[in-house]
Symmetry: C2
Subunit: 212 residues, 2 copies
DNA sequence: TAGATTGTTAATCGATTAACAATC
DNA sequence: TAGATTGTTAATCGATTAACAATC
């Protein structure tokens, strides 16, 4: 893959997985080529935006023809890093943590889950998706051996600051953060993706109330 | 609360729950007044943005003093609709659906969960958070009685189109959508909040690979 | 070839930041 | 009162859309 610009805006990056999903569906439906105009219609975007977005990463289309679905899908597969999985660990194996692991395929998203940590006696020793839950005391030891690149944080806000500091010491720099602890404020260089489910739900509450 | 503009941009709306959380923390810590400058420092925003955002909804500050934490928190409590809960139903009581219900407080986010639906024999009849799981065949009957305002979709993509159409027929217009079915494309007037956990994770895969 | 569609530059639109008079 | 900080207008920045020459 050819990358043209060094700095791609988050607005563009956030659209990539959706392109990837739509192209997968097109492939499944036997569509082999598609124009930016047709893809735009199907995705509810403008053709301009699609061409601008894709051209951040290379020239995938052909004048007069459009884009090869297979080729574009494959390009995104590499761009999104699905072809080179990073290792991830889960911190906190409560309801949410377990649901995440059971619910989705990490492999298809560029990650491999290699460890699960929790301090609850009820959970330590149990298996989640073939991985045995370990006590958090073993975190440093585990990281020395496995060097995980991502930490998935499904822990309470209070536990987070101490744990994130330990993870940083272990060389973990990327966080999929479901807690309300604001990692980016304390570690500006960390790669952080916050998932604030409560905030997301509240925007619906706002809009429901505002609409009436 | 005084609303100045009719149309508030989603950029602003998405910041409101975070303001609400930070103000809650300030309250807990006994802080009674705060300037836009100080709040900006704590949240990693600019003071300008905070004042612009808040002024979409009214004039909550006082020149020379700043904002009363209590008063501003209370304003957001009303603006976000926490004071007037809407009723919600959960469709799909699998791993993710159950985790959501057990993990978070709907009441604190402006909703009350009134029904849970699933078609799995193993789940129908079981209780989730004091609510008995019903088969989806009872959806229409239930909606006639309870008129839920929000549907939480924790169902596979394939099941979604039929179910969303039925929900619309039942008068449900707001969706907290964890499925990959694109509701907004088919129903442009619906209130939709998508939570695409896989997409969110993939942005981290992209950034991890790009960073090296 | 002619029609279609790209890649890319220019124009527009919207969101963020800066500046400052008003005022507590 | 003087200092601080707001609400708001103006300036800037970034993202989206439109336009079009290049070309398959």
């Amino acid at each position: 893959m050819t990358v043209k610009a060094d700095m791609i805006s988050m607005s563009v990056i956030r659209r990539l997985p959706r392109y990837y999903r739509f192209l997968y569906d097109l492939k499944q439906n036997g569509v082999t080529r598609i124009s930016s105009h047709e893809l735009a219609k199907r995705m509810g975007l403008t053709a301009s935006q699609i061409r601008q977005d894709l051209n951040c990463f290379g020239e995938f289309g052909q004048q007069g023809y459009g884009y090869s679905v297979d080729q574009l899908y494959d390009a995104l597969y590499h761009i999104l890093g699905v072809s080179t999985p990073s290792s991830a660990i889960l911190l906190g194996a409560g309801n949410l943590g377990r649901a995440l692991v059971n619910h989705m395929s990490f492999e298809n998203k560029g990650f491999k889950l290699v460890g699960v940590f929790d301090d609850s006696d009820a959970l330590v020793g149990s298996k989640i998706h073939d991985i045995t839950v370990q006590p958090t005391t073993l975190l440093e030891e585990f990281c020395k051996t496995h060097s995980p690149q991502l930490a998935i944080l499904c822990i309470p806000k209070e536990t987070a600051p101490g744990l994130v500091e330990r993870l940083r010491q272990c060389g973990v720099n990327a966080f999929w953060n479901f807690s309300h602890y604001d990692i980016a404020l304390r570690y500006p260089d960390a790669l952080v993706e916050n998932v604030h489910l409560g905030d997301s739900l509240m925007t619906l509450s706002y809009r429901l109330n505002r609409n009436e």
